[in-house]
Amino acid sequence: MSDDVNKGMPVDLDEEGYLIDYHQWDEAIAHALAEKEGVGELTPDRMEIIKFMRTYYEKYNYYPILRHVCKNVHQEKECINEEFIDPLKAVKIAGLPQPTGEVVAYLKDEVA
């Protein structure tokens, strides 16, 4: 992990900016991560998405289908792209571990 990534963060992140220890997450950390990712304020809608992703991950040891999240929190079906632009930012803010390359390929359809 580099010092730059961790600058000002109260928790350890990996090289790509994902929380190393999933259990260290709390709402204050989520706010700090959101700011670091340039997402801005974590509105109640955004926090609801984040929390659902965590609950899902705890139960299924996996990342939810993105549409699944939006349907469950009763938001627009493109809610994650609309709220976070990049789904991987939502994964980071939710404190979930870094997804493998293949998961990333299915989560993103934009050129990095």
């Binding site: 289908i65 349907k71 493998t100 293949e102 390929a105 359809d109 934009e110 990095a112």
Partner: protein
């Protein structure tokens, strides 16, 4: 990718040849053009050698001291074992017919991406160590010493070949470049030189049954979500079974369809089709992957991963197998599975219970492609279809390299699509069917860090899509491959904005009129269907 170049920048490709010879220039690792190194934990999972942390740009790749001996011994062994390998090493006359047929050469202008020269990287070592003339005359006879620079060059260029085999269509000798790349990668794997985008999914598949690492309860959860969506769209509740003993058919799909859009829409299409015809079938959470990234690693690894399909078919006591929309999965099923893990004597030759068609072509593997199955249903008039529900789409079809060149599935998908869509337009002749252009991300190269390579490799395909977009207003690129469904969306967004990507059975599902369904107002993506009345007025 370091900095995202614009399409205008990226399409300026320099095809002029360098003044210096190709043999002794050390490889230059360009950012955006290669994938991350494999991680030790991934290699350890499948007991692959030399599992250690390493980085591509490090000078020292932490190879075993006797790496050269290992490579030469491995070449010797494979030259004896595979007649094709020795033949392909010997018979190339360097005519150059393949040179400009490779999408990676067309997209990069790098001469070492000409198939002839990519093969020459290993062929030169073959000559030096395994032919009399090369042993005596060295590079006068086209031979080359095996050095660390040469090995690194192999790694860079064998992971810039997507094993698509377009070059082999044009080779007057029929040299199969994919097989050379496969041997090259197999040898590199003996030194622990894989990429993580392949090694990770291989480890996942070995441990959990699928590349994505979805566990049984996760698969179930994803299906419940999709079933819910199907009910919302159609009013029909489908009820697929998992790991059900005694089912007639085992269905195996690529795991990408169980997780990522637009693959999930195709997955919903499979379920709706099977429900509608009342097929007695089951999914498996153990054989939960049709694809086979072992195939991009070594023959032995591919065989190990493939074995679970027959094992599960036997355990469940099914009669035969249907496979979903996947590309490389089908090269494995069609050309390797029977030899590796057959004969599947415990299965029966597939007979469609709906039409009575006996699929003699699968008499040995006992496994058929869903495109064949669905085309047969349509041919016999067994499906009630309303193609006007796809009228908002102007569709073209991308032949996956492996289903087209690897097994000859050329007409079935077209037949199906033309029956479920009213607007279909082919891309130019030299870019479809056996001559199809690769998506640029096949054979495990669908990572993020090599995005420039993918965009360059996908440029010829994208160009052909742009042609039909401009001439016919095409807005949907259909395919029968899960890698395509992951790889083509960013490619289209970059080169041909306005063209979306769909699996064939998503289009089938849109058109499929189900018994007891409600009036459809949404397509499979839960997008509103255009007003029917308006369409009739036109």
């Amino acid at each position: 990718m370091a900095k995202k170049p614009t399409p205008e920048e990226l399409s300026k490709i320099n095809y002029s040849l360098p003044y210096t010879g190709w043999m002794y220039n050390p490889v230059e690792f360009k950012d955006g053009m290669f994938c991350n190194a494999s991680k030790p934990e991934s290699l350890n999972t499948v007991d692959f050698p030399n599992a250690r942390k390493w980085s591509v740009k490090d000078e020292d790749w932490n190879l075993p001291e006797n790496w050269k001996e290992i490579v030469l011994e491995a070449m010797k062994e494979r030259l004896e074992k595979y007649r094709s390998f020795r033949l392909f090493m010997d018979i190339c006359v360097r005519c150059g017919a393949c040179a400009d047929k490779c999408h990676f050469f067309l997209g990069t202008g790098d001469p070492k991406n000409m198939p002839v020269l990519r093969a020459e990287l290993i062929r030169s070592v073959y000559r030096r160590y395994f032919t009399k003339s090369g042993q005596m005359l060295g590079n006068l006879a086209g031979g080359r010493e095996l050095t660390l620079d040469v090995l690194k060059e192999w790694w860079y260029y064998f992971y810039q070949c997507s094993e698509c085999r377009r070059c082999s269509v044009f080779c007057p000798y029929g040299i199969d470049q994919a097989e050379i790349t496969m041997i090259g990668r197999e040898i590199l794997n003996l030194l622990g030189l894989n990429i993580e985008w392949i090694a990770g999914p291989v480890a996942n598949c070995f441990m959990k049954g699928n590349h994505l690492g979805l566990e049984p309860h996760t698969i179930k959860s994803n299906f419940e979500f999709m079933i819910d969506d199907i009910e919302e769209i159609t009013g029909v509740k489908v009820d697929p079974s998992f790991n059900r003993k005694g089912a007639e058919v085992l269905f195996v799909a690529p795991s990408g369809d169980m997780f990522g859009d637009p693959g999930t829409y195709t997955c919903m299409g499979y379920m709706m089709l099977f429900h509608e015809i009342g097929l007695d079938y089951t999914w498996s959470t153990y054989a939960s992957e049709g694809g086979n990234f072992g195939f991009f690693t070594s023959n032995e690894m591919a065989k190990r991963l493939n074995s679970k399909i027959y094992a599960e078919a036997q355990r469940l006591g099914v009669k035969w197998i249907i496979g979903g929309e996947c590309g490389h999965m089908w090269r494995v099923m069609h050309q390797y599975m029977d030899t590796w893990n057959g004969p599947a004597d415990f299965l029966e030759v597939p007979v469609s219970p709906i039409t009575g068609t006996k699929f003699e072509n699968a008499g040995s593997t006992k496994m058929i492609h869903i495109a064949e199955f669905t085309a047969d249903l349509i041919k016999h008039g067994k499906l009630n279809l309303d193609p006007s529900r796809n009228d908002h789409l102007k569709v073209t079809f991308h032949d996956s390299c492996n289903t087209s060149r690897g097994m000859g599935i050329l007409d079935e998908p077209r037949y199906v699509i033309k029956n479920v869509c009213n607007n279909f337009h082919e891309m130019p002749e030299d870019t479809i069917r056996e001559k199809t252009f690769c998506c640029g991300s096949g054979s495990g190269l669908n990572a993020s860090e090599n995005m420039e390579l993918r965009l360059r490799g996908g440029f010829p395909r994208a160009n052909a899509v742009k042609h039909v977009q401009q001439h016919h207003g095409v807005n949907m690129l259909a395919n029968i491959c899960a890698i395509d469904r992951a790889a083509l969306p960013p490619l289209m967004n970059y080169w041909v904005p306005g063209v979306d990507v769909a699996g064939m059975h998503e289009l089938v599902a849109n058109a499929l009129v189900m018994k007891g369904e409600k009036e459809r107002t949404q397509d499979m993506r839960l997008e509103d269907l255009p007003e029917k009345e308006g369409a009739e007025d036109v």
